[in-house]
């Protein structure tokens, strides 16, 4: 039996707030990658974006990280990492990936060295880090000013994507319509989600500020936390209203 490639899945996003759907993405992706027979998923990382991202209604990173931590209490393989959220400025996804890849590689290095000294076991694979995303994420590659070409190249080519798609979406079209993505399509794993489960954080925030129930859409602990801190209100939704997303101003690609 050939050795499987150890794989860590990284999800970047607002997590404003985290929902059950975010955690489903990890479960679906892990099942899919295991079925390829080539990968062994050894971990999952959730990396909430920094406040500097400038998205409308984004509550403070401290709260978003705390909620993710609570939601993941019952998971034995997905963890939260607050490195990205602690950066004073927004961090390019590719930079966040490099940071996490460095950590993963460091964890594996001693083991690999130990094993490679035994000649027969030299086949041990280097670990990989792939970006986990929803299908709508692929469309962001087409939004002018959001991505640098060389970053897309590195995310898709060097690392790779695991993209979970829903019923009506056509992710293969998004891949086809981008030259960079289509060049790296063997590194883009499309996972089909058969259960329609469209719990968006936007809908959750909307229900919360209208005083409607969100029970069973996110873990009870997270709902309690939101109530205790009075997190999602009409006021909090006005935050960053009319502001430009930081990637658009930071990278200056629109000029």
């Amino acid at each position: 039996m050939a050795a499987r490639i150890p794989l860590v899945l990284l999800a970047c996003g607002s997590f404003n707030p985290i929902t059950n759907q975010h955690m489903r993405l990890f479960e679906l992706a892990r099942d899919h990658m295991h079925l390829t027979g080539q990968y062994q998923v050894v971990g999952g990382i959730i990396s909430p974006v920094s406040d500097a991202y400038g998205k409308q209604g984004l509550v403070s990173a401290k709260h978003r990280v705390a909620m993710v931590k609570m939601a993941l209490q019952s998971s034995d393989w997905v963890t939260v990492d607050d490195w990205e959220s602690r950066q004073p400025d927004w961090t390019e996804t590719v930079v966040t990936m490099r940071y996490h890849y460095g950590r993963v590689a460091k964890q594996y290095q001693p083991r690999m060295e130990a094993l490679s000294s035994q000649p027969a076991k030299s086949a041990l694979c280097a670990p990989q880090l792939k970006l986990l995303c929803g299908a709508d994420f692929l469309d962001t590659f087409h939004v002018p000013g959001l991505w640098r070409d060389e970053d897309v190249e590195e995310v898709a080519g060097r690392f790779g994507l695991v993209c979970v798609t829903r019923g009506g979406q056509q992710p293969d079209q998004a891949v086809h319509e981008s030259d960079v993505l289509s060049r790296h399509r063997s590194n883009i794993h499309l996972v089909r989600e058969w259960v329609r489960n469209e719990t968006s954080a936007t809908e959750v925030r909307r229900a919360l500020r209208r005083g409607l129930s969100v029970k069973y859409l996110l873990p009870d602990d997270v709902i309690d936390y939101i109530r205790e801190h009075g997190l999602y209100t009409h006021n909090s939704e006005l935050k960053n209203k009319g502001a430009k997303l930081r990637p658009l101003t930071k990278q200056g690609l629109l000029d």
């Binding site: 955690m23 099942d31 329609r196 489960n197 809908e203 029970k215 859409l217």
Partner: protein, 275 residues
């Protein structure tokens, strides 16, 4: 401030719950929000009533497991509970009968409360508020302070009213006319069209509350069983406590899915033999 006293409502959901999923639980939350938003109702309780094994549905595992899973799933809820009366019946029970059973339980509970009241405040109230027992009343309560019982269902149940031999016409009439229906619909379903196309539903349309589910949460129990048989993760589709219960007992397998295979569903068997 509530100018008018709200009508109290108990929501009843009948079904296989094989197994219960987060979607079943969401239906209760959506229905309660919707009814209370009308300003007229106060939802005081939700009841989950798993069907008995006599229903003969393919892949239906033993009722005691389905009841236990529903109990685990509702542990964190302060208003939804599980009732095993229907699941304990050896033969399949018509939904109208289940509704009748729970309605009479509510009436009996109410009567007990009234007797306590009577001791406290004397008979004055009885005289001032004559019981309005009306056979043709459009709602199920015989007194204004007895909660109404409404059947909670998905759009598929509304649709199933049109399937030959699945329902008795007088049962539909009784459920919709006498009690009422709260129907949760997903994006593309045509609840309004089913109501429009059925005379009995249309006549009782004021008793049918169609609740639109904006967050699509289409977690069918069929899908969950399929994923379980294939060893795929179903985490976050149902409560963790239910998942552990399933895993500990190895409940859903290729073997369990063969149960009742090729057997006619109890309602079809019952009604097609009489017609």
């Amino acid at each position: 401030m509530e100018p008018v006293e709200r009508i109290r409502v108990v929501l009843l959901a009948c079904g296989s719950f094989n197994p219960i999923t987060n979607m079943h639980l969401r239906m209760f939350e959506l229905a309660r929000d919707h009814l209370e938003d009308t300003g007229k109702y106060k939802v005081v309780q939700g009841i989950i009533s798993p069907v008995g094994d006599g229903y003969k549905k393919k892949g239906l595992i033993e009722a005691h497991h389905r009841v236990q899973m529903a109990r685990l799933a509702t542990e964190s809820s302060d208003w939804i509970r599980v009732n095993d009366w229907e699941s304990l019946q050896s033969e399949w029970v018509e939904t109208a009968k289940v509704v009748r059973h729970h309605h009479s339980t509510l009436l009996a509970t109410q009567q007990n409360d009234d007797e306590v009241d009577t001791v406290k405040i004397g008979k004055r109230r009885r005289i001032e508020e004559p019981e309005c027992v009306n056979e043709n009343s459009s709602v199920s309560s015989t007194r204004k302070d007895t909660p109404q019982l409404k059947l909670l269902c998905g759009a598929d149940v509304l649709e199933s009213f049109g399937v030959p031999n699945l329902w008795k016409a007088e049962d539909i009439e009784e459920i919709v006319g006498h009690h009422g229906l709260v129907c949760i619909t997903r994006g593309s379903s045509d609840a309004e069209r089913f109501i429009q196309q059925s005379d009995v539903l249309w006549e009782n349309r004021k008793n049918i509350f169609v609740t639109r589910e904006w967050v699509t949460n289409d977690i069918s129990a069929t899908h969950v069983r399929r994923a379980l048989r294939r060893g795929q993760s179903v985490r976050y589709l149902l409560p963790d406590a239910v998942l552990w219960y399933i895993q500990q007992r190895g409940l859903y397998s290729a073997e369990s899915e063969k149960k009742n295979a090729g057997v006619m569903l109890a309602p079809l068997q019952r009604y097609s033999s009489t017609s």
